[in-house]
Every structure is written in C-alpha cells, then in structure tokens.
C-alpha cells in the first residue's frame, strides 16, 4: 500500500506560480474575483507562500500544497467525519458529508483548507474547461488539495489493466507535471527506492511545523 508524499526543492523553484494555476485548472477551482479576493476568499489548493523580506534578505518563496499529514489535525476535529485519512495516506474530503462548519480550516496550521463561499462555476463559456474527472464542489463545503487523487486512481487503473504494480513516477499530480524548474516530486514514501524517499532522507530535507506533531508528508529541500 503506497504512502503518498511530495518533495519540493526550494533551490530549484523559481516562484513562477505555474503550480498554483495548473492545480486550479486541473481541479475545477474557480477564481474568486477582486471583491471576494479582497475578503481573503481566494481558493488556492496550492499557494506559493511568501516569507517577507528582512533587513538582511529578500523575500523567500515556499509553495504549499496540502501536507497530507500522517497525524492530521483537521481529521481530528471534524464533527461529522467528512474529512478522513485514506489507507494510502491521503487526507481526503467527502463533500456530501461536510456541513461547512470550518472547524477543520481553523485546525489546519498550514492554511491548506478552503471554504466555498461562492459558486464554483465560472461564467459561460469558461465552464467549458471543467475537468470531468474532478467534481465541482457546492457552496458551503470545505475543499483542499487531494494530491490529484483522480490521477492516482487513473494510474492505478492503468497498472491494474496492464497487470503490473504501480511504478515510481506513474503518478504525476498537476503541480508536479507543470513545474518548469522540475522542483516538485511525488511518490511513495514507503518505497525506500522511490525518488521522494531518497530526497526526503537527504541533508537538505526539512518539513514545515514538524514540532506540532502533524507528521506532514511534504518535504522541502532547502535553498542555497
């Protein structure tokens, strides 16, 4: 059973935000528009965080998907069991169960969860680019990065149809696929030979807010 994880190399990242845009296109995340954006309601499953400049240094950029924590605070607080951790280590959302209380968005220390304040369908004909492999979420539910679970399923179906196991590199989430600098990697952390395993064991590897005990599964490789 794979335990999915991601590695993001901050030394290769060029802060271009291709990941942010590709994810929104792949996962039917609608734009908020200027008024809602001013109210802080932009939904970016992947967001490039900016660590502000200091006296000594310029800004630093950290792309942040969902961490798919192995000890997820969001799952612990959900009163209706709408968010759950799958047997492959994905923290997923059952949109039908979600009551929109937003307890989980508060519990997440990474700010990775988003509430649907408004309709997720763009005006025609932009609704034409809806990805049929991903549901469109209704107003009033919480959503977040799924590590492109639809692509994981596709890859698994393909492997099953061909009668072979999944290989390292079979699953490519949208952000990983598009990253022009090749800074993002995805794979099975329980396979010691996978690229993400090897990179996560390297000297530059670190995780965000480890001290909170969330056991995040996105590793960052330090710059410089």
């Amino acid at each position: 059973m794979p335990r999915w994880g991601m590695v993001i190399d901050l030394d290769k990242c060029g802060a271009c935000q291709a990941c942010t845009v590709a994810c929104r296109m792949e996962n039917n995340v609608n734009f908020a528009g200027p008024d809602q954006a001013a109210r802080g309601r932009v939904i970016t499953w992947n967001e490039v965080l900016v660590i502000p400049e200091t006296e000594e240094s310029g800004p630093r950029f950290v792309p942040r998907p969902c961490m798919h924590c192995d000890n997820p605070p969001c799952v612990q607080v959900c009163p209706v069991g709408a968010t759950y951790r799958s047997d492959q280590g994905l923290v997923l959302q059952n949109y039908d169960r979600c009551i929109g209380c937003r307890y989980c968005t508060t519990a997440c220390p990474y700010g990775a969860r988003y509430f649907n304040w408004q309709d997720a369908t763009p005006p025609a004909p932009m609704d034409s680019y809806r990805n049929p492999n991903v549901p469109v979420r209704p107003v009033g539910v919480v959503e977040k990065c799924t590590f492109c679970v639809q692509r994981i399923q596709e890859a698994e179906e393909q492997a099953r149809a061909e009668g072979r196991p999944l290989r390292d590199g079979d699953v490519v989430p949208a952000c990983v696929q598009t990253c022009p600098a090749g800074a993002r990697y995805f794979g099975d952390l329980d396979d010691p030979e996978s690229q993400v395993s090897r990179l996560s064991r390297g000297p530059r590897a670190m995780r965000l807010l480890e001290e909170l005990g969330t056991r995040p599964k996105v590793y960052y490789l330090a710059e410089g």
């Binding site: 190399d9 802060a15 935000q17 845009v21 006296e55 061909e162 949208a174 598009t178 022009p180 800074a183």
Partner: protein, 770 residues
C-alpha cells in the same frame, strides 16, 4: 492507448450495476449522486491535441486535453524542447483566453462615434468588400502608400503575408512594435557580433551567470525553458552555478540569485565597462578568443583602462568599487560564464544600444560567444521558400515613398521599425496622411508611453481596421473589427525564437473547432489579396493559411514527419564555435569597435549636429566603441518630480496581454502580495519621507498626469526609484480587465534611444498619498 483502456473499464462498470464498483472506481471523495449520473452517461470522447502556446513568443510546445469537444487542460509537450513537457503559469492559464466570456464573436462595424461602444454586426463578405473597395479607391488615386499595417505578435506565415500584401499593393508602411521592447538590445548584438536576432543562452552548461536588468525567471522567453535551466543550474549537476543579478529592483530573479547588486537605473554600461577594466588589467580575459576572433580590442582596452576604473563606475552607478572588482574577478574566473542584458531591461533606455554593446563585450572577453555555457545563435529549421511574385508599377511607386516611421533615415540611423514615430507622424500627417490603418495583434492605445499622444494619431486616420479577438481600448476606437481566432484556434508553424540554441519547430493547430464567427487573420489577408485582383491576387496563390503552412513545412520532410507524429521537431545538436556563421561583422570577428556603426554613420553623413540631436556625448572613435552615455530620463523637472519611475513585468503577465485572464489576475503580484490590482514599489526611506505606509492609496504623477494605485513599501529597490508593473489599467478588454489597476504608460513621457527608435522607459514622477 491509455484512454482506450479507461473507456473499456468504464463501459464494463456501466454494465455492472454494483454501486460499490462505481464507488470504488470514482473514489469516495466525490458526491455520490454525481458519480451515479456520470456512470450512466456514455464515456466521453477524449483526445490530446498537440499545439504551441502563444501567451508569449517563447512558443513552448503544449498538448491540450479535449473532452467532448471542450478543451479542459493544457500541459507541456514532452517532445518539444522549449517546454520539455512542463509549462509556465501563463501557458496553464491559456484556456481562459479561448473561453473568455467577452470575446468578440463576429465582425463588427462601428455605429455611432468612435469610442461610444456602439457596434452592428457585419458579414465577413460585406466587410471584405468594403475594405477592398477603399483600398482600390486609394490605389486609384495614387495613395496606396497611405495604407499602413501596425503589429504585433506575429507568428508563422502572417508577417510575410502582411508584407507581401503591402508590397504588392504599394505601401512601405509595415510597422512592427519592437521599439517598445527589444530593438536596442538586438542592435547592440548586431553592431558587435553581426547577428540581427535575439540570442540563445546555454545556461545549463554555465557556472556563472550575470544578469543586468534582466529578470529571466519572470520576464523572458521561453520562460518554461529558462526556469528549467535555472533548476538544472542549481541542482541538476554536481556544481551549483552562481547567479548574480544587477538591477535597480529586487525582482524575483534577483531575490533567487546568490547576490543582488542594486544599481542606479540606466548606468549598467558603466558597470560592465568597469568590470572589463578589472578583467583586462588583471589579465583574466580569454586571450585566445580575443586575439583570434575580435577586432578593435586595443581601442576598447585603452578606453576602459583610461575611463572606467571601478572608482569612476562607483560614482556613476552607486555600486561600491570593491563589489565591482570582486564580481569582475568571479565572472572572469568562474568559467564558463556569461552575461545578459535582457530584451527590454537595460536596453529600453536612452543609452540602450551602447549599454548592450558594453554588456555583450563582456561575453567576448570571457570567451562566451558561441561557447558551451555562453551566448548562442538560435538555430531555426530550414523550411520551404515562399513563391516569387511580381509587383506592378503602382506598387513599385508606392513602396518607394518614405516610411512614416522614418526608419533608417538620419532621424533613426538604425531604426528598422519605429512604432511610436509612426503614430506621431500620422498625427501630424507628415510626410503624408495615413488614410487606412490595419491594427494586428497589438494595442497601440495601451502599450506605448503616453497613449493620449497616440489618440491624436487615431483622430487623423479616417479608417481603422482592428483584428483583436477582444474589445481592447484600441479595438474600441476602430471602425471595423475583424476578430482573429485565439491561438488555440489557429493553424501556423512556429520556431523557437530564442532558447536552447538547437532549432525547435512546432505546429500550432486548432485544439477545438473555433467557437465563434471569427477568422484567422492570415486567412483573411489571403482573401483580401485575392479580392484585389491583378498582380496583388497573383501574389496569393493559396486558398488558406493552412496551405501555406503545409507547403513551407513539407519542404523539410524530417520536420514535417516530426510535427505529424509528436507536434514538435528538434534539430541537430548545437555546433559550438561556429565563428563563420555567428560572427557576421565586416571583419568576420567580434567587433569591440563597431565598423557597422561607423559605416552607417558615414553613409548617412551623421555630423556634430546629429550627434547632439541624438544625445550622444561621445566624440571621435568612442562613438563606435561601447561606452557609458549618461542616462537621460524623460519628464521633470527633477525638483518637482524627484523620483524615477521604472516599470517591470511579472511571471503572471503574458506580454502586454493577460489582464483578461482571472487566474493570472488573481495571482498577479506574488512578492508584493497583490491580487487583481497594480501597485507602486517605494523604498522604505522614500515612503517614510513622504509619510506613506504599506498599502496606502497613492498618486503617481508626472508632467503628463497621474494614476492612482496602492503603495508597496520595500527595501528591494534603489532609493529614489519607484517601480510599477506593466499590464493593468485597461480601458476595455472585457469584464476582468476593464478598470482593474493602473497603466503606468499614461504618465510616461516618450523618449528614445536615438540610434534605433527604441523607447526609453524611465520617466520622472512624484508620489503622494491619495
């Protein structure tokens, strides 16, 4: 094959009524009801169409996923070297161009006055007939030369088709808009290396890259390829390359570089020449290359040693002399190294050409010309030849008339296309009035300094045809709109203009059937040519642009086969050190002393008065050598407008376009923390002096007027310089773009690099709380 399997699986699941099968296949995260509905529907027709992006002229290869005739996702095409299967944020946003809800859906004829936004539909045939009639009338009166084409983002055959039309019709006025961008950069390379093109950069093999005013990770092309090179330079080889960015502003590139060197805007030539001083004085230059492949080294050496000590450069640039010495030594000893001044960057200045010459000369000093890790000449595939055509006497007389933009006259000795001059001449009706203007893939009332100035030209031109698919501010002031297809609906071949050096060819093709009653402009030009009859029609022996593309491409069987198979064709590996091909100067060497410059000046009899007029203070041989010409900044006076306005581009902006794409607007200013808006960056000290805090509404004001925007306070700039991004502040262009942000062009007073007619973008402003 992948998708056939999937359809097979789906078809089987539909047959089996088990809800658990459906649930497992589609995943627990989906609304169950939707899952049932989709399971009952027939499986969608799905295909991937290879094409080429055109959010910028990088022309990265893409593949577009199309489901049931809807384009749903764009990815990079792995077979295309420019994208390598990846794609920048602009490319990912491309479907918002295709599916923009405010696209123009059919040809429109103005009803009411210009700018009143009253239109009536007109058929393609009627529009063609009207335009053809007007053109015939003008031709009959001996006024064919008063017809002009201004453009644009040309790709594939359309540039040649326009030129062919104007040539056969009888007008010299084909005016490209490169003067707003990279004319002086190209000239700097042409005068020293003899190549009239953008250069390719072999960064993957470089160990030290020095960038002057060049945010390569945001503002260059192909961006996907440059970011990929950046990733390689950092972690793709055992030795991590060093990157140093010289810039008045701490761009994202400068923030990611190992060192940001703040510099006073427009003074980069002094820095480059002082570096040359150190490199030559300490004997660190590539002796073999200099001795065997350069001309004029002695004069160059004498000049830099005499006039450009690090101390002298510090006084001009504000960069400490110690830093200049250190970076010069690092640059010269960390080989392979190369430097670059960007496309607009350091060249969109009053001294742009000389600055580029100074920067490019550093490449010659360290042997980076056509070497691994250095600056290369982008190869292009050899395709078919265009068929010859005859022109009649009317045409011959027409093309002999002087160009409205005064290109290659004493006014602009090296100006190939002087876009702003065209409009100024048209406004004054000198040397003659413009009677009909075609505006193709450019937005003159938005992209130039001082658009109010351009409006005066519009008022003098009685008939204007615009091909924009969007109701831009320029289209709003046209008389006839003949909407083009978007790039995802067009058929044209593309070559990478600059990138890896190796030739890369792509084929842009419609990924879906075109959405509306629009027409690819090259198809329209062919129809127009045919409608004109006579020798003009004979110059267009095709029915469509697809025919043209097929003829040109099939002349190279390998390229044609590659394009058919994968949508991309990659040429032979790059041949380095090919000096016969890449040093095309009179001496066949890299010319520190530019003979081409001297020859053109002699031919045009440029004298003392001309040098003064062009703002060139150098005299004697220095005129033909790279040197620092004191930067001239438009507007003023300095006492009333004490700050300098500089403009920049973010990675989220596709050239001058993109404000109509919500995904880009929503991520517009990452480092500044701004969405859906413009901003102006001020140094903390400047802001403190003016009593301005981060986020305050402010006015940025010049002699021309003022714009209102918001302040971003930072230490990421040289004090005394403020920075605004280009791309927003439209007065049209649809619901997302109109009224969003501010256009700094409205307050930028037009100024030039007088050698080329390159726009010099710096202007004097003041900033105050709103």
């Amino acid at each position: 094959m992948h998708w056939t399997r999937r359809r097979l699986l789906q078809a089987t699941a539909v047959g089996a009524a088990g809800a658990s099968v459906v649930g497992r296949r589609l995943g627990l995260d989906q609304p169950f009801r939707q899952a049932l509905v989709e399971a009952a529907a027939p499986p969608p027709e799905e295909t991937w169409v290879p094409s080429v992006c055109l959010q910028c002229p990088g022309a990265c290869g893409i593949r577009v996923r199309v489901v049931d005739g809807r384009a749903v996702k764009i990815e990079g095409n792995p077979a295309h070297l420019g994208s390598g299967g990846r794609l920048c944020p602009k490319g990912q946003s491309g479907l918002q161009v295709l599916y923009d809800p405010d696209r123009i859906k059919q040809p429109l004829r103005r009803a009411g006055a210009r700018g009143e936004d009253r239109w009536e539909p007109i058929s393609w045939d009627a529009a063609l007939a009207e335009v053809a009639q007007r053109l015939q009338d003008l031709r009959g009166q001996g006024l064919s030369h008063t017809v002009a084409v201004v453009g644009g983002r040309f790709q594939g055959p359309v540039e040649e088709l326009w030129k062919r039309f104007l040539n056969a019709y009888g007008s010299p006025n084909f005016v490209k808009r490169g003067a707003t961008c990279s004319q002086a950069a190209k000239l700097g390379v042409r005068l020293t290396q003899g190549i009239d093109d953008h250069m390719a950069r072999d960064w993957k093999n470089a160990n030290f890259v020095l960038l002057f005013g060049y945010s390569a990770l945001e503002a260059s092309r192909p961006l996907t390829w440059l970011l990929g090179s950046y990733g390689e330079m950092r972690r793709g080889r055992p030795l991590r390359a060093r990157i140093v960015a010289v810039d008045p502003r701490r761009s994202v590139t400068a923030a990611k570089a190992d060192e940001w060197i703040p510099i006073r805007p427009g003074t980069d030539a002094a820095l480059a020449l002082a570096m040359a001083h150190v490199i030559i004085r300490e004997d660190l230059y590539d002796k073999a290359f200099v001795e065997n492949h350069t001309f004029g080294f002695e004069q160059y050496r004498d000049l830099v040693l005499r006039e450009y000590s690090p101390g002298a450069a510090e006084a001009i640039t504000g960069v400490p002399a110690d830093t200049i010495v250190r970076v010069a030594r690092e640059f010269a000893t960390t080989r392979p190294s190369s430097c670059d001044g960007g496309d607009r960057g350091t060249s969109g200045m009053s001294n742009g050409t000389y600055t580029r010459m100074a920067i490019h000369s550093l490449n010659a000093l360290v042997g980076a010309i056509d070497a691994p890790g250095g600056i290369l000449v982008q190869q292009k595939a050899k395709l078919g030849k265009w068929p010859e055509y005859e022109t009649d006497d009317v045409a011959k007389a027409g093309v002999k008339q002087p160009r409205m933009d005064l290109a290659k006259t004493r006014t602009w000795p090296f100006g190939g296309n002087v876009y702003p001059q065209f409009f100024d001449s048209a406004a004054k009706q000198e040397p003659y009035p413009v009677n009909l203007m075609f505006v193709y893939y450019t937005n003159p009332l938005f992209v130039q300094p001082d658009p109010a100035r351009v409006m005066k030209a519009y008022e003098q031109i009685p008939f204007i045809v615009d091909f924009s698919p969007f109701m831009s501010e320029s289209a709003r002031h046209a008389d006839l709109i003949l909407p083009d297809n978007t790039y995802l609906e067009r058929y044209e071949h593309t070559g990478i203009g600059q990138g890896p050096g190796v030739a890369v060819t792509g084929l842009r093709r419609p990924v879906v059937r075109q959405l509306y009653d629009t027409m690819s402009t090259p198809d329209w030009i062919i129809r127009l040519g045919r409608a004109m009859g006579g020798s003009i029609a004979a110059a267009f022996p095709w029915d469509s642009v697809a025919e043209v593309v097929d003829q040109l491409v099939s002349a190279n069987p390998k390229v044609a086969a590659d394009l058919a198979a994968t949508g991309a064709s990659v040429g032979e590996p790059y041949t380095f050190g090919n000096y016969e091909q890449v040093l095309k100067t009179p001496s066949q060497k890299f010319e520190f002393y530019s003979q081409a410059l001297k020859q053109q000046f002699e031919k045009l009899e440029i004298g003392e008065a001309d040098l003064e007029r062009m703002g060139i203070t150098a005299r004697g041989d220095t005129v033909y050598l790279p040197h620092y010409e004191p930067i001239h900044i438009s507007g003023g006076p300095a006492a009333e407008y004490p700050l300098v306005l500089s403009t920049f581009k973010t990675a989220t902006r596709p050239e001058g376009r993109g404000a109509n794409q919500p995904f880009l607007a929503e991520s517009w200013g990452l480092a500044a923390g701004v969405r859906w808006d413009s901003w102006v960056e001020l140094h903390r000290e400047t802001a403190a002096q003016l009593g301005i805090s981060h986020g305050d509404a402010v006015y940025v004001e010049s002699r021309l007027g003022r714009v209102r925007t918001r302040a971003v306070v930072t230490n990421g700039t040289v004090p005394g310089v403020v920075h605004m991004p280009h791309g927003l502040g439209h007065k049209g262009y649809g619901r997302y773009a109109a009224g969003m942000g501010a256009n700094p062009n409205e307050i930028i007073e037009l100024d030039y690099d007088y050698l080329t007619g390159q726009v010099a973008w710096l202007t004097r402003v003041r900033v105050s709380k709103a």
